[in-house]
Symmetry: C2
Subunit: 477 residues, 2 copies
């Protein structure tokens, strides 16, 4: 089959995005059907007279979003996306120049490590934080005219900041909401506590397994039965979800923590269908690090596919700005806004109005976008250095979860247990983390030999040295 993609080099839109949009729209319109095979990237690049990497980026994006699937040694096929008629609207608002984001709560309580190199999956690179700008915004905010900022504020957070977040979420994440649906709070843990008060007590909550344990502990702490649900390579399994009798499912579709799984469109729709099947079911979408993708465009939020108000969207600035600023937010669907007013609007905001104002300026003046772009390039450099160095381990390890986020997964091909791998690494002064600690009460899991390697806080040199040491440590595994 031949694809005649009309390309306009003068349009200002990158060629790979033009290819992506054209093919995606063909799939949506039904002109390309499930199971149809696409030309190889080599062939299409020759036909279109563009570089192969340009085509590959477009394909990667569509695979990440679930429009395409690869079958090893056979090629690339249009995925089954039936029932997605309403989907087109939201993510077409997706804008490649902007992105957005979430958590950092993953850091508290991390023990100090005394070895040489620590591949901690927590933490972010603070070296490039625009300290001067932040200081200047603080100074400009703390002027006498702003004295009223010391008075009590809106329980939901400052309106101008909520409006800036709304605008950002809309263009960068395809999230559809009004500012009045946004509630700002001091971090995702607090916001989950607040959300619990809005939802009330009688719910069962399903979570991906493995998952973000801090969220699990908060939800357990609020008294909810939490049902771990196994994932396949597309994410949480809807059949198992249905079996749990849960009425709320907490998921991380853009980049699952810790597996790095990107949930394809079809699975997202299946989860939405699950939510729609009974009154009062909700999905909590934790969009914690969606701004860091190193191939293609950001993947639109699940929230944008939801026309019925069944998705509760959560984001934070902990990963994208700094954990210390303690600002995150909830986007409540309409049906829950009433419950918020009745049950939780008496909770005063947990974020200082001055800090809210500074963040507002940071977003409004374009600093956030510039900072994200800079950090994305920096993290991509580290990511690429890590992948490059890992080639030396490919004979012994599978590599997964790459091209997004701030960590990758490494699985021993012989199935050597994670504790042993970590012990060998420690002897060489390198700290690595097993995946099993992310599991909710599972003694058996398919990740017994998998390690999580975070690279955000390391330099390229440290990453290379670390992998070299690991290569030495694991020479016989």
């Amino acid at each position: 089959m031949e694809l005649l993609v009309p390309l306009d080099p003068q349009s200002g839109m990158p060629l790979y995005e033009q290819i992506y949009r054209f093919i995606r729209d063909e799939i949506r319109k039904g002109n390309l059907r499930a199971g149809e095979r696409l030309p190889s990237s080599r062939l299409l690049s020759e036909n279109l007279k563009v570089s192969r990497s340009t085509v590959q980026m477009a394909y990667d994006q569509m695979m990440a979003e679930g429009y395409l699937e690869t079958v090893p040694c056979k090629g690339c096929f249009v995925a089954d996306t039936q029932g997605l008629a309403g989907f087109g609207e939201a993510d077409s608002k997706n804008d490649m120049g902007k992105r957005m984001t979430s958590p950092g709560e993953k850091e508290a309580g991390e023990p100090v490590f005394s070895g040489k190199i620590d591949f901690s999956p927590r933490g972010i690179d603070l070296e490039r934080f625009p300290f001067g700008i932040w200081r200047r915004l603080n100074r400009d905010t703390l002027v006498d005219d702003n004295r009223e900022l010391f008075g009590p504020g809106d329980p939901k957070g400052e309106m101008d900041l909520r409006e800036a977040i709304r605008s950002y979420l809309h263009s960068a994440r395809g999230v559809n909401c009004q500012a009045r649906q946004i509630i700002i709070g001091a971090g995702s843990q607090y916001l989950l506590m607040l959300l619990s008060r809005i939802l009330g007590d009688s719910h069962r909550i399903a979570m991906e397994n493995p998952t973000y344990k801090q969220a699990y502990r908060v939800l357990k702490g609020q008294g909810y039965p939490v049902c771990p649900v196994d994932m396949d390579r597309f994410g949480m399994r809807p059949d198992l979800l249905e079996e749990t009798n849960a009425d709320i499912a907490y998921v991380m579709p853009s980049h699952q923590y810790p597996t790095g799984i990107v949930m394809p469109v079809k699975r997202r729709q299946e989860l939405l269908d699950w939510a729609l099947k009974e009154e009062g079911r909700y999905l909590i979408e934790d969009d914690y690090d969606s701004e860091f993708r190193y191939r293609g465009m950001p993947i639109p939020a699940l929230q944008g596919m939801d026309k019925e108000g069944r998705v509760i969207y959560m984001g934070t600035f902990s990963k994208s700005i700094a954990p210390a600023i303690r600002i995150g937010f909830l986007v409540l669907p309409e049906p829950l806004l009433k419950a918020y007013e009745e049950k939780a609007s008496f909770y005063a905001s947990t974020v200082s109005r001055i800090d809210q104002k500074v963040l507002y300026q940071f977003l409004e003046k374009g600093h956030y976008e510039r900072h994200l772009n800079r950090m994305r390039a920096i993290y991509k450099g580290k990511h690429d250095a890590l992948l490059g160095a890992l080639k030396s381990l490919e004979d012994r390890f599978f590599i997964e979860g790459e091209y997004a986020g701030l960590h990758i997964l490494l699985t021993n091909k012989k199935g050597l247990e994670e504790g042993k791998l970590a012990a060998l690494a420690a002897k060489e002064g390198v700290k690595v983390y097993g995946l099993s600690s992310y599991f909710i009460r599972s003694k058996q899991n398919q990740y017994q030999s998998t390690l999580v390697l975070g690279y955000a806080t390391l330099t390229k040199e440290e990453i290379e040295e670390g992998i070299s040491l690991l290569n030495q440590a694991w020479k016989d595994v």
Copy 2:
């Protein structure tokens, strides 16, 4: 009876404090016994060759603390303080030059009022906030050397700030604790949520009735049965408390909100005795506005009387600095520290590290103390203006809860209902607030004709104009 108080004008300690300390110690040693009558302030001032107001201040302080009682037309007597042997240690550390604090959460959700003068009991006077100093501390904190402040912090809060709070609480409030017992959080509502996770679910909580409704709603929201307990003029009644089968009692001994009742020493001891009677009982002491007293010294915290780790102390900087800074703290007794480590230490701090650092500097450099002293003088001026103006209403109203805090109570002698009083006031453009909204499910209460008049946000002129208008509005009640 004659009291030979040894006074040393050169000691640097104010004369009234010398008198207070001497008589208090005589009572503690048993040299002055319950029921003994003290000389009148006129007589004692003549004997000691000091002004009568000096003696009166010492007496007022002892009355507020429960060491003395007045019997109208008869004089001043030593109160029954038996069983208080262990009490002496803590509050002798009380330092007259310093004071400390709490809430401001009382503000959220206040509707806008369009009349002339609003005697809202919420809000504080922000006109005198040392904006320049706060800005400078921010600027000095946001220097490149402090880059690490953007990384994740201690879940309990920054150690230096906790140490500064410990030191302050010790000298100003007689609170005995280590910095490791202090947990900093974004406001008293969040801290109550966190405390609920530390305490666990199976408790019954007793609260004074009327009380601080926001705290009531948070505790109800956490699923606890909350038992309202009536007060007499000394505060929560221990006999009624015992009947509730509650195992936790939430009290505001220094200045009950909203009644303004100062709990005498004897009642404090009775509550401590109640807590000690069974394993696992606790008192939550909300010390929300103890820094604003306009006669005598601050009253030491109940926590300082507790030798067995049964008091959970709560404070905030919302009233004493500004509601917008969103910083409060818990002081956990030893037995609950373990529970914190097990059940709640995974909650990341809800306060920005930068904000914590700025507050630390504010305390450490003496700005807080100076600010408090200035605000105390300003509020005292408003308080005195209000009391002066209220003389015109004394024929029709009882006045209570004066000399502390930021509001007073006004009760109609004829028992006219609060709604009618408020309606008459509104006609003259003055907004006043009924006390009944502070009650937990009570249709009948002894405050049917009582109004709460806050004065923090008004100028002296507004206060005088407001009372003049009320005098007009209520000329026939």
